[in-house]
């Protein structure tokens, strides 16, 4: 046994995300149960899996650039939220601590986009 080091996001929660992906269930639905640092990690995990599944399904034809184009641009989101902060602040994770409601809302939007992409990759009905 080793000394217990608490992970930011438990494997059991990642397992939940995976099950939701394969059941075509909402991924952002459980964000309300997570702390900001867990949401950051969850977003990273979901992004990683989106890339992984994209490569497994499409191989060389899979383009991360095409993926990025599906997200709302930071500038558009900031305009929508009437935010005057520099774009770099919105691209980073700082706002999860200074303005968590806004940052979490953005994260949910991005994860919903990734969820749609995963559904397409897995061949689920996206209607």
């Amino acid at each position: 046994m080793l000394s217990y080091k608490k992970p930011v996001l438990k494997d059991s929660i990642k397992l939940d995300f995976l099950r939701r992906m394969f059941n075509s269930d909402s991924l952002s639905a459980i964000f309300d149960e997570l702390q900001p640092d867990q949401i950051i990690e969850a977003q990273r995990f979901i992004w990683e899996k989106t890339i992984e599944f994209g490569i497994k399904v499409k191989g060389k034809d899979f383009s991360q650039d095409e993926l990025m184009e599906r997200f709302k641009p930071v500038s558009a989101y900031q305009m929508e939220m009437k935010c005057d902060y520099p774009a770099s602040k919105c691209r980073g994770t700082e706002c999860f601590y200074s303005d968590p409601e806004c940052a979490i809302n953005k994260a949910k939007n991005q994860v919903d986009v990734m969820s749609k992409i995963i559904n397409e990759l897995l061949g689920f009905d996206t209607e």
Binding site: M1, L2, Y4, P7, K10, D11, S12, K14, L15, D16, L18, R19, F22, N23, K49, E52, F53, K56, V57, L122, G123
Partner: protein, 170 residues
């Protein structure tokens, strides 16, 4: 409990624990690989798989009832190379229990873990290229699907766990 004939002078033994909420699934899993699983006095399912004359795998099917967890774990935990968490993919309660088991294992042990979602005779929810050989959740845990009553499928799960162990060594 039957006596076990362990030829330690000639053989190397690897020990793997299969943990899950359903006794029948664990039994099917071990029986798919090992000819004659034994159910011990303490409800541990034991199976032996001889990989070759020099190497055998001992598989222990262990339940996760909270009140009995200490006893079973005392018996086997210190010797385990890796864990397989086996649950019924189509059963929400089984999934919740698998999450609890995973929380326990990752908190207490550093050995590699393969979470195997059993679909039995039902279809896989996604194409096999997505989940084979496995999907990584963390440095310690990976995920795959399996059919607990299918020897080829069970073998793939065990091999993926052993691959994880070997990768850690290198």
């Amino acid at each position: 409990m039957q006596d076990l004939d362990i030829e330690t002078e000639l053989q190397h033994i690897g020990e793997i624990a299969i943990i899950g909420p359903t006794g029948s699934a664990k039994y099917h899993f071990i029986h798919s690989l090992c000819r004659k699983p034994i159910i011990t006095d303490h409800d541990i399912i034991f199976g032996r798989y001889d990989v070759n004359p020099e190497l055998s795998l001992f598989l222990y099917g262990i339940g996760y009832e909270y009140e009995r967890v200490n006893f079973a774990w005392d018996l086997v935990a210190n010797k385990i190379l890796g864990y397989i968490v086996l649950f019924d993919w189509y059963n929400d309660q089984s999934f919740k229990m698998a999450q609890n088991i995973l929380d326990f294992l990752t908190a207490e042990f550093d050995a590699p873990i393969t979470v195997a979602a059993d679909v039995f005779d039902r279809p896989f929810p996604v194409q096999t290229s997505i989940f084979r050989p496995s999907i990584s959740l963390s440095h310690q845990t990976q995920f795959t699907f399996c059919r607990s009553n299918n020897p080829a499928s069970v073998k793939k799960v065990v091999i993926s766990l052993l691959d994880m162990l070997i990768n850690r060594l290198s």
